[in-house]
């Protein structure tokens, strides 16, 4: 009885088993074929990450006289992470990064959207203005940094223009005033990255089916109604992508800003990247740097996962 059942079971199983074997075989082939790429990914992404995690749990510094793999001798557990929690300079930098993002990304988005709407229609000289508009994006950020550094000098062209306009001598020390320096840095970021937003949104905008817009017009929708009921919903995915790109990039704001202010005056424009850079190059406590970077990576990853989920949900709805 039991033997019969066993053989029956074996017979019943035979076909799926064969399928599984076949599946295994093709999976093995796939694995072998992708192995070089996997090893590459391992060394580019996984290995540095593990190394970072390891160092973040120690007090290791390049001045400690130990090679990085010997950092375990300076093991301090989660001390770096608990220090981080009470590091006011870290939280300050994080706050400024958030402020810059909350101002810059929406500004870039709205300006980019307005420009994209303008450029979706034809007007004389469109190609010329289009090229001009894209130029900031092509400027090397360091060069843009020097440009704005000079522009915002107290004896610089901006103050000259303001003097001419107002008729009085204007000598605003843009980059030495904590608030104005932050504003200057934001202006530079908006100048440089609005074109990217514009480009992405324009691509989305021209992809909106014209006949649906015409249909809406025939049904009596005014331009604003057309924009809110047809254009924006159709652009939802591309808007989310554009915002995600700029949020991630803006969080890492560094080059232009560092050249303009070096994070100063004091720590007035010190964003998270600048802070990490300073701790790395000046304080040289790399165990701590690893902890900061990892903490930020985790926070950003969680945020990205949420954004992706939202995007997937939007796609689901659209399909």
């Amino acid at each position: 009885m039991s033997a019969l059942t066993a053989s029956e079971a074996a017979m019943a199983k035979s076909t799926p088993e064969a399928a599984i074997n076949r599946h295994d075989e093709s999976a093995r082939l796939g694995f072998r074929l992708t192995l070089p790429a996997q090893i590459l990914v391992l060394f580019i992404a996984v290995f540095p990450l593990l190394m970072q995690l390891y160092i973040s749990l120690t007090d290791w510094s390049p001045l400690s006289g130990l090679d990085w793999w010997g950092a375990w001798e300076l093991w301090n557990g989660f001390a770096n992470y608990s220090d981080l929690a009470s590091d006011n300079r870290f939280w300050g930098a994080l706050w400024r990064t958030a402020v810059v993002m909350v101002v810059c990304v929406p500004a870039e988005f709205l300006l980019g959207l307005a420009l994209a709407t303008l450029f979706a229609d034809d007007f004389p000289g469109k190609r010329f203005f289009y090229s001009i508009l894209l130029m900031p994006m092509m400027v090397v950020p360091a060069v843009a940094g020097y440009m704005f550094f000079m522009l915002f000098q107290s004896g610089g062209p901006l103050n000259d223009i303001l003097s001419t306009l107002t008729g009085t001598r204007v000598a605003i020390a843009w980059l030495s005033d904590p608030t104005l320096a932050l504003i200057a840095v934001m202006i530079a970021d908006i100048w440089q990255w609005t074109p990217l937003m514009f480009l992405i949104l324009l691509a989305g905008l021209v992809g909106v089916p014209q006949d649906q817009i015409k249909a809406a017009t025939l049904l009596g929708a005014n331009p604003w109604q057309r924009f809110t009921t047809i254009v924006l919903p159709k652009m939802k995915t591309i808007i989310i992508i554009a915002l995600a790109i700029r949020v991630i990039e803006n969080f890492k704001i560094f080059d232009t800003l560092y050249i303009m202010t070096g994070g100063g005056p004091g720590v007035a424009t010190e964003t998270i990247s600048v802070y990490i850079y300073k701790v790395t190059t000046q304080d040289l406590i790399w165990g701590y740097v690893a902890a900061i970077a990892l903490a930020i990576l985790i926070v950003l990853s969680i945020a990205t996962v949420f954004a992706m989920k939202r995007m997937a949900a939007v796609r689901e709805v659209r399909a």
Partner: protein, 365 residues
């Protein structure tokens, strides 16, 4: 409801003339088909009626209201696009409610109107479905409903059946005709498919190269084509047109078709019209309106090809430069290479002037 008057309508795009001086009267509640090959100006005409394009010259009147300069959102026309232009990111309900919502109608009224139109078009069970995932026939109903809910006096349809497969087209044709009777609006229907125009329209406006060729009921256009283009374009296959010269015989005026022989005597009114001129003419008759001559008197041609399409047999004949087709029952016994003597039905013979392309002898039967 509203009549449409097109007066001296001209539309040019740069150097290209899409429409040359068109005059057309579309009566209130009439189903008018604009029929012609692609590029004939029919869609341009329709777009100008809708207000998507402004005429270069001329006027469009709805009833006695001049529509010049009235933007498309204010013309009160319903428009069904070739691909329906359904708002795919909305539900069927939102699509139907779009017009009233944009006009700021109260919610209760919108709900009532959407309910009524959905009931009429049998869309009620689909109201909360996403429009992006519906089949073509439902999309068409949504497109019609979305326009019809605004109760437009004029309904414009731009080749609405061209994306539908042949089997389904027959179903949709009857459905559309039924809907037009339901709504009783003035309908303008653009198509390149004569079958659609023939079966649905009250009158057909045949167009070619931006010129209105003929306006008439389907039967008029079929029976009495105004010119060579209409004669060839309408009917499947189109009218046979054979060049020849009028000649006197002892039994009356005939047309000498050269190698094909001499035609039977022409009816009196055609003979009378032809005697006045002596130009080369085109002798025309419908492939369906010819019989095999029992007495051996008629056009003698060799059969070049036999096309059997179920109910009917189309016999292709040709000699010299002339090709002739004739349609018979499917039980016809004929082989390629045989000589066939064809006698066109005297009453259905039409004569066209080669020089002008126009029909000779005016309208008849």
């Amino acid at each position: 409801m509203s009549a449409i008057h097109l007066q001296n309508l001209v539309k040019t795009f740069g150097n290209f003339t899409a429409l040359k001086t068109m005059d057309l009267e579309i009566a209130d509640g009439e189903f008018m088909a604009l029929l012609g090959p692609s590029g004939c100006g029919k869609s341009t005409t329709m777009n100008m009626i809708a207000g998507m394009e402004e005429p270069t010259e001329g006027r469009i009147l709805f009833g006695d209201r001049d529509m010049t300069g009235v933007p498309m959102g204010r013309r009160g026309v319903g428009f069904v696009f070739q691909n329906y232009a359904i708002f795919t990111h909305m539900t069927v309900r939102q699509n139907l409610a779009y017009g009233p919502r944009m006009h700021g109608k109260p919610k209760a009224e919108i709900d009532r109107r959407v309910g009524a139109i959905a009931e009429l078009l049998q869309l009620t069970p689909l109201l909360d479905r996403r429009a992006g995932r519906l089949s073509v026939n439902i999309l068409q109903r949504v497109a019609i409903g979305r326009s019809a809910i605004m109760e437009p006096a004029i309904f414009l349809l731009d080749e609405p059946l061209s994306n539908v497969d042949a089997a389904f087209r027959a179903v949709m044709r009857t459905e559309l005709k039924h809907l037009q009777r339901e709504f009783r609006q003035t309908m303008v229907y653009v198509t390149h498919d004569q079958l659609e125009a023939m079966t649905m329209a009250d009158r057909i406006a045949v167009m070619d190269h931006g010129v209105l060729q003929q306006v008439g009921t389907p039967i008029e256009v079929y029976n009495n084509p105004a010119n060579v283009f209409v004669a060839k374009f309408i009917g499947a296959p189109g009218m046979n047109l054979i060049p020849g010269r009028p000649a006197e015989s002892d039994r009356g005026l005939v047309v000498d078709l050269g190698p094909l022989g001499v035609t039977p005597p022409l009816p009196d009114h055609l003979a009378a019209a032809l005697r006045r001129s002596n130009a080369t003419v085109l002798y025309g008759f419908r492939p369906e309106q010819a019989a095999i001559a029992e007495d051996g008197e008629g056009l003698t041609l060799p059969v070049t090809f036999v096309e059997r399409i179920g109910a009917r047999t189309i016999v292709h004949m040709g000699q010299g430069g002339s090709a002739v087709k004739a349609v018979f029952d499917n039980n016809l016994r004929v082989a390629v290479g045989e000589m066939m003597v064809l006698a066109p039905d005297a009453a259905s013979v039409r004569i066209f002037d080669v020089a002008t392309g126009k029909a000779v002898g005016g309208r008849h039967g």
